[in-house]
Amino acid sequence: MINVLIGIAALVLVVLLALIYRVFTLVQIAKKRETGEEPRVTSSNRINALLFIIFFAVLFGSIFWYSIAAKDDYMLPEAASEHGGAIDMLFWVTTGVVFFVFFVTHCLLFFFPYLYSYKEGKKAEFLVHDNRLELAWTVVPAIVLTILVVSGWTVWSEITDPAPEDSVEIEIVGRQFGWNTRYAGPDGKIGKHNFRKIDATNGLGLDFEADAANNDDFVANELVLPKGKNVLLKIRSRDVLHSVFLPHFRLKMDAVPGQPTQFWFKPIYTTEEMRQRLAEKGDPNAADFNYHLACTEICGSAHYAMSMKVRVLSEEEYAEWEKEQKPWAELNADYLAEKGIEISNMTSLK
C-alpha cells in the first residue's frame, strides 16, 4: 500500500514539475518578446531562492519531528556500564553543540540566497575580508573544540587506564563466524594458548603442556558477566579481524590475530534489572530484552550474523553459574588422553 502511495506521489511530483517548467518557459518567451532583450536572470532565480527557504523549513521540520517522535526507537537503553554514562554525556553535549551550529549556519546559508538573490541594478558589496570577524570564527570554534576534546580525553584516559587488579578476566575469541568465551576457573588465571594447538576440538588452542592454568579453564558459547565487578575482556581472534561490540555497554574493541587486545568495564545492571527498567519506561518488549554482542569489523560472508548473547548476573548468581561449569579439560578428557596429555591437578583445584 505504502509502495503504491509513494509511486503515485513520485508521479504527481514529476507531472507537477513538468507543468511548472512548461509554464515558466512560456512566460519567459512572452516576456522576451515584450522587452526584446535577454535579462541576466529569469524568474527561476526567485523560485530557487524561495526553494531554499522551503527546503530549510522541511529539513529542520522533519529532523525535529523524527528526533522527538521516534526517540524510543533509536535511542539505546541507558548505558549498562559505568563508563557508558560518561560516553553518553559526551555524546549528547557534543550533539547539542553540533546541532546548534548546524541550525545557525543553515539559517544563514539558506536565508542569504533568499535575501540577496539577484536584482537588476543592485551591486554586491565589495567585501574582501574582515580581520575581526575572521579572528572571531577561528578562535571561538578553537575554544569550543578544546573544551570538547579535553573532556573527551579525560573520559578516554579513564576508560583506557590499565584494568584494576581485582578484575575478573574473561577471554573472548572471534572466528569466522562466531565467538567463544573462556573463563579462568577457580585459580583465577586464564591459561596460555597457542594457535598451533588449535584443531576441531580444541578450538581455542589451549596449551596444556605450557601452562597448567589451563586445566580448570571453562569455555562457554555466551558471555556471562557479573554485575558490579570490574571485568577485563581479553580479546583475540583466530583468523581474520573481528570486533567486539557491546552496544549497551558502550564498548568496542577489535580482535586482532596475533595481537591480543583488551577492554575493561563494570556492568551496572543485570539483564533482569534492565528488563525492569525498560518495562517501567513502557517498552512492550521489555520481557524479551537481552544484551548482545555484535561483530563490527567486516570478516566475511556471515559477518552480519556473528552475534552472541550476553547475560549479566548478580554477583551471587554469577558465582553459582561459575560453580556449575565444568572445566574444558574434564569435558574433553578423551581428547586429551588421545593426545597423550595428562592432567594431574584438575580435580585438586576444584
Binding site: Y74, L108, G152, P257, G300
Partner: protein
C-alpha cells in the same frame, strides 16, 4: 614552456600545409587528437567521461545493496539477467556478493570517480586555462596518466565478472581477510585484480600529480603570481602535493600485501588458524597495515574534497558577484588542512587495538583540523552575504556542497572524540558522516564544476531548468538518504551488514531503511536528467557566449572552442587577482584578470593606482624576467 611553444608553432604550420587532407587537419588524425591526445583539454574530458561511466556503475551498485537493506524480503529475481548466479534460487542476493558490492562501491566512488573523475578532469582542464599556459608541463606524461587510469579501469571492471567475484573485504582491504584466499571468495583473484588495478591507478595519479605541480609552479603566465591564482588552482595544486606524498604509501602497503598473499612473507599476518590449518606466518601485524592504509586513506579524504572546495570557491564568488571572502584565509586553510591531513590518520583506528596513548594524540590533532574547515565554511557563507546572487545550476550545487560539508563535518566532531568513537565506530553514524562530508560534498563539487565549465568544454550551454530540477531532486535525495543514517548509527547499527532482520537488537527500523532505499533509487533516477542534459546539450545546446557567467578568470578569454595551445595569439597577461567582482566605481560588476589597472582608473584602490603606474614600463619588466 619553450618546448610547448615550439609544438604549437609546428602545429599551426602543419595545419596550413596539410589542409588538403582532412586527416591531417589539426596536426594529427583521429587517434592523436581524441584518443592518445597530448592536449590537456581532451585529456580532461577523457577523465570526465570515464569518471561519469564509473559513477553510474558505482551508484548503481549502491542501489542494488540498498534494495537488499530496504526490502530484505523482496524477490530480486528480476536482477538475474544482470547478476546471474549472485541471485540465489530463492531470489535473494548472495551475502558474499553483497560485500563485494559494498567494497566495489567504495573503491569506485573514492578512487575512480572522486579522485580520477574529479581531480583528473578539473585539474587537467582548468590548470593551464586558468593560469594562462599552453598546456601541461609534459603533455606526454599527461596522456600516460589517463591511459594508466584507463588500464586500471579495465582491470577493475574485468574483476566484476570473474567467477569468485570482485574483492569483497571492504574498500580498506584490511588483512588478514583480504590477504587470505581461504577467508572469503573475493580475497582470491578478485583481490589480486584489485591490487593490480590500484597499482596502475597510483601510477596514473602520480604522473598526473607531478604534472599539475610542475605546471602550476612553472607555467604561470606573466603577472600570475601565487597570490593571484584562482582558489581552484590553489586547491588542485595542494591536492596534487598531498597525493604525491600519500599515494606511494598506499603503494607500499599494497606491495607488502602482495608479498604476504603470494610470496609467503608475514608483514601483516600472524598466528592464524583458518580453513582447518594453522598458517606458518608469525610476527606480522595486521594493525601495521591499517596505519599504512590510513596514511593515504585520510589525506585521500582531502584529495577528494579540496578540488570540490576549490571549484565551489570559484563558483560561489562568480555567482554572488562578490569577491570570495577572506581569499588569503582560504589559501591558509587549504595549506593548514593539507599539513594536518597527514597527522590525523590514526583517528580511524581508535579501537583497532593500537596504544590508547596514540588515540589521545590523534584526537587532539584531529580536532585541530576542524578549525580550518570551519573557517572555509564561514567564508563561503559570508561570500553570499550582501551578494547579488545568480542561481545557476552550478551555484545551487555549490551552496548544496557547503550545506553537506557543514552537516558531515559537524558529526566529525563526534567521531574525532575517541571516547564517543568507541560507541560510534563502524556504525551507520560513520557511514552518514563520511558520505555527507566527502562523498556527497565532493560529488556536488564535481557536478557544480561540470555545469559551470560545460560551456567552455563543449562550446554550448546546458539547459538550466533541467539543472534546477536535477539539483533539487539530488539535494533532497542526499539528505533523505544520509540524514536518517545518523539515527541508525545512534541505535548502534553496524556497517557492512547484509541483513539486520536476523539480528534481534537491530531488527527495528525496517521503515527507516526502506525510506533510505526508496530515496536512493529516486536520487539515482534523477541523475539521468543530468546525463540526458549533458549529452543532449553537447550537440543541441544553445551556443555558449564567450563568457557566459561574466567571470574573471582567464579560461573565458579563450575562443569558444579553444584549440591546442588555448590562445590563438600571445598568452594573456595577468594584472589583478581573480575576484574583482562588483568593485565600487567599476562600469560592470566584474573585471577580468587580464584587464590592466591602467584601464580601470575609476575603480582602482590607492595601492592599485601604484601598480597601474608600473604597468606602463612593461619592457623593463620583461627584460628583468629574461635576465
Amino acid at each position: 614552456m619553450s618546448t610547448v611553444d615550439i609544438d604549437i608553432k609546428q602545429a599551426t604550420d602543419d595545419s596550413h600545409g596539410g589542409g588538403h587532407d582532412e586527416h591531417h587537419e589539426h596536426h594529427g588524425n583521429f587517434w592523436t587528437n581524441y584518443i592518445f591526445s597530448y592536449d590537456h583539454k581532451v585529456i580532461g574530458k577523457q577523465f570526465l567521461l570515464t569518471g561519469m561511466f564509473w559513477a553510474l556503475i558505482g551508484v548503481a551498485m549502491s542501489v542494488v545493496f540498498r534494495l537488499q537493506l530496504g526490502f530484505p524480503d523482496a524477490n530480486l529475481e528480476f536482477l538475474r539477467p544482470l547478476l546471474g548466479g549472485w541471485i540465489d534460487s530463492a531470489g535473494k542476493l548472495d551475502p558474499n556478493f553483497y560485500l563485494a558490492l559494498v567494497t566495489m562501491h567504495g573503491t569506485i566512488m573514492v578512487f575512480f570517480v572522486l579522485t580520477a573523475g574529479l581531480s583528473g578532469t578539473f585539474s587537467n582542464y582548468l590548470i593551464p586555462l586558468q593560469i594562462g599556459a599552453r598546456d601541461m608541463a609534459s603533455g606526454f606524461m599527461n596522456m600516460l596518466s589517463y591511459w594508466f587510469f584507463f588500464l586500471s579501469s579495465v582491470v577493475m571492471f574485468a574483476s566484476l565478472f570473474i567467477q569468485t567475484g570482485p574483492a569483497s573485504g571492504g574498500w580498506v582491504i584490511y588483512p588478514p581477510l583480504n590477504a587470505l584466499e581461504q577467508a572469503s571468495p573475493g580475497s582470491g583473484l578478485g583481490m589480486t585484480l584489485w591490487l593490480v588495478s590500484m597499482a596502475l591507478f597510483i601510477v596514473s595519479t602520480l604522473l598526473g600529480g607531478i604534472n599539475y605541480i610542475a605546471t602550476v609552479i612553472n607555467l604561470r603566465t606573466e603577472g600570475m603570481s601565487f597570490t593571484r591564482l584562482p582558489l581552484t588552482i590553489w586547491a588542485f595544486f595542494i591536492t596534487a602535493v598531498i597525493g604525491l606524498l600519500s599515494f606511494p604509501v598506499l603503494f607500499s602497503a599494497a606491495l607488502l600485501l602482495i608479498f604476504d598473499r603470494s610470496f609467503g612473507t608475514s608483514f601483516f599476518l600472524s598466528e592464524i588458524y583458518i580453513g582447518g590449518e594453522a598458517l606458518s606466518n608469525v610476527g606480522g601485524s595486521a594493525v601495521l597495515f591499517q596505519h599504512l592504509f590510513w596514511f593515504l586513506g585520510h589525506p585521500e579524504v582531502y584529495i577528494v574534497l579540496l578540488p570540490a572546495l576549490g571549484i565551489t570557491s570559484e563558483i560561489v564568488a562568480t555567482n554572488s558577484r562578490k569577491p570570495i571572502f577572506g581569499y588569503r584565509a582560504m589559501i591558509g586553510s587549504i595549506l593548514g588542512i593539507a599539513v594536518l591531513s597527514f597527522v590525523v590518520w590514526a583517528h580511524h583506528m581508535f579501537v583497532s587495538g593500537m596504544n590508547p596513548f596514540l588515540g589521545s594524540v590523534f584526537m587532539f590533532l584531529t580536532l585541530i583540523i576542524a578549525v580550518p574547515s570551519a573557517v572555509k565554511a564561514f567564508n563561503y557563507i559570508t561570500t553570499l552575504w550582501r551578494g547579488n546572487l545568480v542561481f545557476t545550476p552550478a551555484m545551487l550545487f555549490s551552496i548544496g556542497l557547503v550545506s553537506l560539508f557543514i552537516v558531515g563535518g559537524l558529526t566529525g566532531i563526534h567521531l574525532a572524540n575517541a571516547a564517543i568513537d568507541i560507541q560510534l565506530h563502524d556504525t551507520y553514524f560513520v557511514v552518514a558522516h563520511f558520505h555527507l562530508v566527502m562523498g556527497a560534498s565532493a560529488f556536488f563539487g564535481m557536478l557544480a564544476g561540470i555545469y559551470h565549465w560545460f560551456p567552455k568544454m563543449f562550446g554550448r550551454m546546458m539547459n538550466d531548468k533541467l539543472g534546477y530540477v536535477h539539483f533539487w531532486l539530488t539535494f533532497a535525495g542526499v539528505y533523505l538518504i544520509f540524514f536518517p543514517m545518523h539515527f541508525l548509527g545512534i541505535a548502534a547499527f553496524p556497517r557492512r551488514y547484509y541483513s539486520f532482520t536476523s539480528f534481534e537488537p537491530f531488527g527495528k527500523f525496517t521503515d527507516l531503511n526502506m525510506l533510505i532505499s526508496v530515496a536512493a533509487i529516486l536520487t539515482f533516477a534523477a541523475q539521468f536528467i543530468f546525463i540526458f542534459n549533458f549529452f543532449y546539450s553537447m550537440f543541441r545546446g544553445k551556443i555558449a557566449p564567450a563568457n557566459p557567467w561574466k567571470s574573471n578568470t582567464l579560461e573565458w578569454t579563450t575562443p569558444r572552442n579553444p584549440g591546442h595551445g588555448n590562445w590563438p595569439g600571445p598568452l594573456p597577461k595577468v594584472y589583478r587577482w581573480p575576484y574583482d567582482y562588483s568593485k565600487p566605481g567599476a562600469k560592470d560588476d566584474f573585471i577580468p584578470q587580464n584587464v590592466p589597472y591602467s584601464e580601470t582608473k575609476e575603480s582602482n584602490l590607492p595601492y592599485e593606482e601604484e601598480l597601474a603606474k608600473l604597468e606602463k614600463e612593461p619592457k623593463s619588466n620583461a627584460t628583468k624576467r629574461d635576465a
